[in-house]
């Protein structure tokens, strides 16, 4: 075992979470054949390199390679992680290259989860300290190596730009020349970290590593993996959830040029061909009779009836402050119920996975947020030891939570095990949308009482899926899903009497999972919509109403005041145009957002302007933070305006971008994001915009029309002038 195998992080701080998972193994690195068009991957060995921990490799030429423990799906994390490491390492940033990490939970587990996962907007939060320590430890070793060679006190040396210098003797030496000497030194356990005021990289809007290859077609996503002898497959799963294949007539499909093989499994059929076109045509030509099973008559109406009934029951108490019964008995009491639909992820890169299954091992090419879990899942399905499954990760063509699931790898393997040689399994967009793992339906019931313009009692009940119970079972304790109650148990407002309850309500048949914004998405929507309704009951301006209750959350108060100023809050607007606000403390960032929108006579909504102010602590790369918010706000607006997956006769009714609408450039207004300077530790950012914009849009519509919508997507009929109450 070489230095590469020494874990930097030590045992996970949340080892209890990990203990319940499949983890606990230690893998040797093994990198067999790469796809022919793969970019340079992780080196097979660290021999001849300075590799003091899992993240840093410096070779004798001084080239610094940083291994990325988190995956790049557009959020800019490769650049942010590299900036943090290089900052403390004092690397020459122009000489830095980044590579994907291999699956290895020992080395690359996310400290928040104890598993190798990229999600929950926590890459920078979770790795902030470990990466800084890794960089600082490496730097200290390089300095010590130089000092030893010069026979001077290490404290009299300095490092910058990939060199160690001794000012007194005017000597300098590049990191590349220190590789051998530094490799022999012990790794310091608690190296001193830089004072943030001395940061030279962190805080700068540096260019992203991944952009150049994304402008010229050279970038390789999982779907682009090409291997010698590769075949292409596409599949049809039972259109009804839980249904099975009945009878298959493949006579017409077999006669299509380029079709090589038909694979019929219990729950799906796949056609393998020389290219995707043959596979698609072959699939269209199959005559499949499905055995629909017990969900053949399931509809959205049934699911909503069940959820509404569940939300009328008492839940498990997730948080109590003061005496909620007493609080609710004071002042004027109001009620609200909010409902959010199923949503598909619709990442632009459709689900896909390339697998080469052999009797004694298996190789997988994929873009995933859960690298080790893909490896474990394929190993389990294949009945192979985990170390016989090699997984090559790629840049992701969008994740949004969909690629937190390993199901596509399991499905691709089940097809590939019947195929001789490597096969790329690609979901059509229709299969991708109809067989997603959906953002759950949620229903939130709120009772609140108002006295003298303040909330004095607040009872909040969430009903919906416990995704955590399925995805990270050890973290599901006492009947409370920590994700489902996120941003509700930590509501930012000063409320003296409060209770948050959670009712676990799983929809029949429809699989549910994480979706950008996760649990906070639901809770911020319900809370912020109700806040506007309460402000109106109190006869107060929505911003002033919130500001008056943010004494304990000054960072959010400051963001709210800034966004009010920047969005021209309070300035007169034409008829049927409104501004709406939202405020959230989610993912460790404090964000206030104003949406300005116009509602026409028919109820159609036009976005006019979006403004956000964000305090995300130290902004590692402020340009990325702006970009993530701009994009996240659009993601949320898309859902608010259009997003809904509905079920009829056990089938998802939507299928492609014609009926599962995305916001387009001509519908997107000016978006201004103001990043507040802060010295606090970094917060999360990837999901925040998606959470922020839906309630702000709904509140803008409320301001424009007086109609208090209580479910998404927006009901245009309710907003048409003829229907206005």
């Amino acid at each position: 075992m070489r230095a590469l195998d020494k874990p930097l992080l030590g045992p996970s701080r949340r080892g209890v979470l990990k203990a319940g998972l499949a983890g606990g193994f230690w893998l040797a690195f093994h990198f067999p054949a790469r796809a022919v068009n793969e970019p340079e991957q992780q080196p097979d060995t660290t021999e001849g390199q300075f590799a003091p921990n899992a993240f840093i490799r410096i070779d004798r030429s001084g080239k610094t390679t940083l291994v990325m423990p988190q995956v790049e799906m557009g959020q800019g994390v490769y650049t942010a992680v590299a900036m943090i490491l290089a900052e403390e390492l004092d690397a020459d940033f122009a000489q830095v290259a980044v590579v994907h990490a291999p699956p290895n939970e020992k080395l690359y587990a996310n400290p928040f989860f104890g598993v190798q996962v990229t999600g929950s907007s926590n890459s920078v939060r979770a790795f902030w300290k470990p990466l800084r320590q890794a960089g600082a430890a490496a730097r200290a070793m390089l300095v010590r190596a130089a000092a030893k060679e010069w026979q001077v006190d290490p404290a009299s040396c300095s490092a910058s730009n990939g060199k160690v210098a001794h000012a007194a003797s005017a000597r300098t030496v590049g990191y590349g020349d220190l590789v051998d000497a530094a490799s022999g030194l012990p790794v310091p356990q608690d190296p001193p970290l830089k004072d943030p005021k001395n940061f030279t990289l962190i805080g700068k809007p540096l260019k992203r590593f991944d952009t150049p290859a994304k402008t010229n077609g050279k970038v390789v996503y999982g779907i682009d993996a090409m291997l010698p002898g590769i075949k292409f497959a596409t599949l049809a799963q039972s259109p009804v959830f839980g249904g099975k294949v009945g009878h298959v007539d493949d006579s017409a499909a077999k006669s299509i040029p380029g079709v090589r093989q038909i694979v019929v499994l219990d729950d799906l059929v796949a056609v393998v061909g020389d290219h995707m076109w043959a596979a698609k045509q072959g699939l269209d030509a199959l005559v499949v009779t499905w055995d629909d099973g017990k969900y053949a008559n399931l509809s959205s109406r049934d699911i909503w009836e069940d959820l509404r009934a569940a939300s009328r029951k008492e839940g498990v108490i997730a948080k109590t402050v003061g005496d909620v019964a007493k609080g609710l008995s004071q002042g004027d009491r109001f009620e609200g119920e909010y409902e959010l639909p199923f949503l598909a992820h619709a990442a632009m890169e459709p689900m896909n996975c390339t697998v080469h299954a052999r009797p004694d091992g298996c190789e997988v090419w994929i873009g995933t947020q859960v690298l080790a879990r893909v490896q474990q899942t394929v190993a389990q399905v294949a009945g192979l030891p985990v170390d016989k499954v090699t997984v090559h990760n790629h840049l992701l063509g969008g994740g949004f939570g969909r690629r937190l699931e390993p199901d596509m790898a399991a499905t691709a393997f089940r097809i590939a095990q019947h195929v001789d040689g490597p096969v790329k399994v690609v979901w059509t967009r229709e299969e991708d949308i109809r067989h997603d793992i959906y953002r759950p339906v949620y229903r939130d019931v709120i009772s609140a009482s108002l006295s003298n313009g303040k909330i004095v009692g607040w009872k909040y009940r969430i009903a919906g899926s416990a995704i955590i119970a399925r995805w990270l079972p050890p973290a599901f304790t006492n009947g409370i899903d920590i994700d489902a109650v996120d941003s509700a148990v930590d509501i930012p407002y000063d409320i003296p009497n409060l209770q948050v309850e959670y009712v676990r309500a799983e929809p029949p048949a429809v699989p549910t999972g994480f979706w950008r914004g996760v649990g906070a998405n639901n809770n911020v929507f319900a809370i912020e919509c109700f806040m506007d309704e309460l402000a109106r009951k109190a006869g107060m301006d929505p911003v002033a109403f919130r500001v008056g209750m943010l004494g304990k959350t000054p960072r959010l108060k400051a963001a709210l005041e800034l966004v009010a100023e920047k969005s021209d809050w309070g300035k007169p607007l034409p008829a049927r145009v409104g501004r709406g606000v939202s405020a959230q403390p989610s993912f460790g960032s404090f964000i206030a957002t104003v949406v300005e929108a116009e509602v026409d006579e028919r109820g159609e909504v036009r976005l006019r302007r979006v403004t956000s102010a964000v305090d995300t602590g130290i902004a590692v790369n402020p340009d990325t933070i702006q970009a993530q918010l701009q994009g996240g706000l659009i993601f949320g607006l898309t859902a608010a305006l259009w997003g809904e997956i509905t079920i009829e006769k056990g089938r998802v009714q939507q299928s492609n971008f014609n009926d599962y609408r995305m916001l387009r450039i001509d519908e997107v207004p000016r978006i201004d994001v103001h990043v507040i300077k802060s010295g606090e530790d970094p917060g999360g950012i990837g999901e925040t915009g998606a959470t922020a914009s839906p309630p702000a849009l709904r509140n803008a519509i409320y301001a424009a029309t007086g109609v208090a919508l209580r479910r998404l997507p927006i009901d245009r009929a309710a907003l048409a002038v003829a229907n206005k109450a």
Binding site: G74, V426, F635, I665
Partner: protein, 151 residues
């Protein structure tokens, strides 16, 4: 055996006439820069140029192209408008996941080649067929304006 002129070179391949250009590029020729997004010309990820005009390659039968020249993201940098678009995309750090961006750059460079100074309405008209799920639209608009400013 069929032949197409792609990025200035004659490329020979074996594929039926009704096969969409997208799959010839990706699966037969291994030119994976052009992306599959929807298969029904709704998202624009597969946009290429045929004689300079932006076309959704997912629905274009390869047999219908004839002698016209095909330009893909791998070759667009050799055109003036394409190089300007790519540079603006880099300068303004437009891209997030990047999966749609081959198509975005192809649509933008077709626009810039015929209309060197597009206004907002021109950009809306030329670019509204290209979906970006990451929501990079604000920067796409800025980048097209940046590219046109260099003209």
């Amino acid at each position: 055996m069929a032949t197409l002129k792609i990025n200035g070179e004659d490329r020979n391949f074996d594929a039926p006439d009704d096969m969409p250009l997208l799959w010839v590029l990706r699966d037969v020729l291994g030119m994976t820069g052009t992306k599959f997004g929807c298969g029904i010309a709704q998202c624009g990820a597969c946009t290429v140029h045929i004689d300079g005009n932006p076309v959704r390659s997912c629905l274009l039968p390869v047999g219908a192209i004839g002698n016209r020249s095909v330009t893909t993201i791998e070759g667009i940098g050799a055109t003036e408008a394409g190089a300007k678009a790519q540079r603006a995309w880099l300068d303004l750090e437009v891209i997030q996941c990047g999966y749609c961006q081959s198509g975005q750059i192809m649509s933008a460079s077709a626009l810039l080649a015929t209309n060197p100074h597009p206004d907002d309405a021109d950009i809306d008209a030329a670019m509204s067929g290209n979906i970006c799920r990451c929501g990079t639209y604000v920067r796409i608009r800025e980048a097209i304006k940046r590219a046109s400013g260099e003209a």
